[in-house]
């Protein structure tokens, strides 16, 4: 009798095991790059990120895109210089693609493989850690992408003939809502 009940429950639960398709939309996103120079430390911030995630068959694919022009460091001259060295007019969009198992979307720390298209180059960063927190309906993802100028074949801009550091870590703060 017990065996029959268990089999009955198992059969009833089968439809729930199949992953339902779902979508996520980026409600609010901030990307901040950090530049270091012996005379300067500055951040360039963009709040113009757009993003979408599609979950299908237990796997979620996310795409985040940001116009290169939208990064603001508080100095128009510096922003134009960054736009020039990063070939921002030729390649106006930075895009980040990642995929993860849908089951991972409940973990507090997630490690993502990122594919970043920027300055005409496509670069993959493996196992980048992100913190995940849930507030009501909203899922917030925060982390830092360890980007380097040389990864994207960008010559470091110089000030007073001294180049900036090759490392330009990009802080990511993204709030996702289910669609």
């Amino acid at each position: 009798m017990l065996r029959k009940l268990l089999i009955g429950f198992w059969l009833l639960s089968l439809p729930g095991l199949a992953w339902a398709d779902s979508q996520w939309v980026l409600e609010q996103g901030t990307l901040t790059y950090h530049v270091s120079h012996p005379l300067h430390q500055f951040d360039g911030v963009s709040r113009a990120a757009k993003g979408k995630g599609i979950c299908h068959d237990g796997e979620c694919n996310f795409l985040i895109a940001v116009p290169v022009k939208s990064f603001d460091s508080g100095d128009s001259n510096r922003d134009l210089h960054m736009l020039q060295v990063t070939r921002g007019a030729e390649f106006p969009i930075v895009s980040v693609r990642t995929r993860m198992p849908e089951s991972d979307s409940t973990s507090a720390t997630i490690h993502l493989d990122l594919e970043i298209q920027f300055a005409g180059q496509t670069v993959e960063y493996k196992q980048v850690p992100f913190q995940r927190s849930v507030q009501g309906n909203e899922t917030r993802i925060m982390g830092t992408i360890p980007a380097k100028l040389s990864d994207f074949k960008i010559d470091p801009p110089t000030l007073l003939t001294v180049p900036i550091k090759n490392e330009i870590p990009v802080r990511v703060d993204l709030s996702w809502d289910p669609m």
Binding site: L39, H40, Q41, F42, K50, G51, K52, G53, I54, H56, D57, E59, N61, F62, L63, A65, P67, S73, G74, D75, S76, N77, R78, L80, H81, L83, Q84, V85, R87, G88, A89, E90, F91, P92, I93, S95, R97, Q117, G120, Q121, T122, K153, D155, L159, L160, T161
Partner: protein, 306 residues
């Protein structure tokens, strides 16, 4: 009015020295002088191939510069003079490479390219990431695309001409920056020698030296200013941050650099006649100090974080 021929000769010599310094420094500053590489990518029927990936790789440095063709199949690079290997790639076409193209400073090299179509199965995938970005497309329906984010293909498409404008602007401002820093040297020397040129016990030689250094400073200064004034403006850009102070200060040191030598010339003539510096000429020193101060602050405003 008595014209001091010897002084005029010295001043001319100093002016020539300033110009000479500029000529000496200019080639090294413009060592990365740019030329243009342009052309059109078409298929065998002559139809332009849009969004083809063109990569110019410097044979000297190995640095690769990518660009996408416009709707009319055209591409354009602003490149430092040198030899380049050019690669043309587009989905559905065979990749074509031009082994060497020489780009000379201030000249335009035209390299047109005709791409032969291939079977889809054989098509090169090298250019795929860049083309994905440009076209904003995604092949798999379960993967979001740029269009899904509301980014149209025209928004994702690059503008080679705007990039060339940015390159030219950056190049000219780099020269502006270097010349500005070099100008600090004769400016400082002029200020130091002013102590020996303006007092009661001054010699003709010290005044001549001061005048020569001042003339060299003015020459260097206006050459520096030329590169800032002639640098292309980027439409739709509003000045923000320290660059506003940098530009505002130009309204002080610019007129100062005109006024200072005029007042200096009057003061020089008065001194040469054995008179004390008087009248408007007595403003030479204060005007020079304000000018030098504004110039120094302008340099510092874009060099240091306050």
């Amino acid at each position: 009015m008595v014209v001091d021929v010897a002084h005029v000769k010295r001043t001319c010599f100093a002016g020539l020295a300033g110009a000479f310094l500029t000529v000496i420094f200019a080639p090294s500053l413009m060592g990365q002088a740019v030329g243009e590489l342009t052309g059109t990518v078409t298929d065998p029927a002559g139809t332009p191939v849009a969004l083809a990936l063109v990569t110019a790789t410097s044979m000297e440095t190995g640095r690769a510069r990518p660009a996408a063709t416009d709707a009319d199949g055209s591409y354009r690079f602003s490149l430092a003079s040198g030899n380049y290997r050019i690669k043309f790639e587009s989905r559905g076409y065979e990749t074509l490479e031009i082994p060497a193209a020489n780009v000379a400073a201030l000249s335009t090299v035209v390299e047109n390219c005709e791409l032969a179509p291939v079977e889809l199965a054989q098509s090169s995938t090298v250019a795929e990431p860049a083309q994905k970005t440009a076209a904003g497309s995604s092949n798999k329906p379960q993967e979001p695309s740029l269009e899904d984010l509301g980014i149209t293909p025209s928004q994702a498409k690059g503008n080679a001409r705007e990039q060339a404008l940015l390159d030219r602007r950056a190049h000219m401002l780099k020269i502006h920056q270097r010349l500005g820093l070099i100008t600090i040297a004769p400016l400082g020397a002029t200020l130091v020698t002013s102590a020996f040129a303006g007092g009661r016990q001054t010699s003709r030689t010290s005044r001549d030296l001061h005048a020569a250094l001042g003339t060299a400073t003015v020459g260097m200064y206006f050459t520096t200013a030329y590169f800032a004034i002639r640098a292309p403006k980027i439409p739709g850009t509003k000045a923000r941050g320290p660059i506003r102070l940098h530009k505002t200060l130009a309204w002080i040191h610019g007129p100062g650099m005109i006024l200072t030598p005029i007042l200096g010339e009057i003061a020089f003539a008065q001194k040469s006649r054995g008179e004390r510096v008087h009248g408007i000429a007595s403003a030479h020193g204060p005007v020079a100090i304000v000018t030098a101060g504004a110039f120094g602050l302008a340099v510092a405003s874009v060099s240091f974080k306050f």
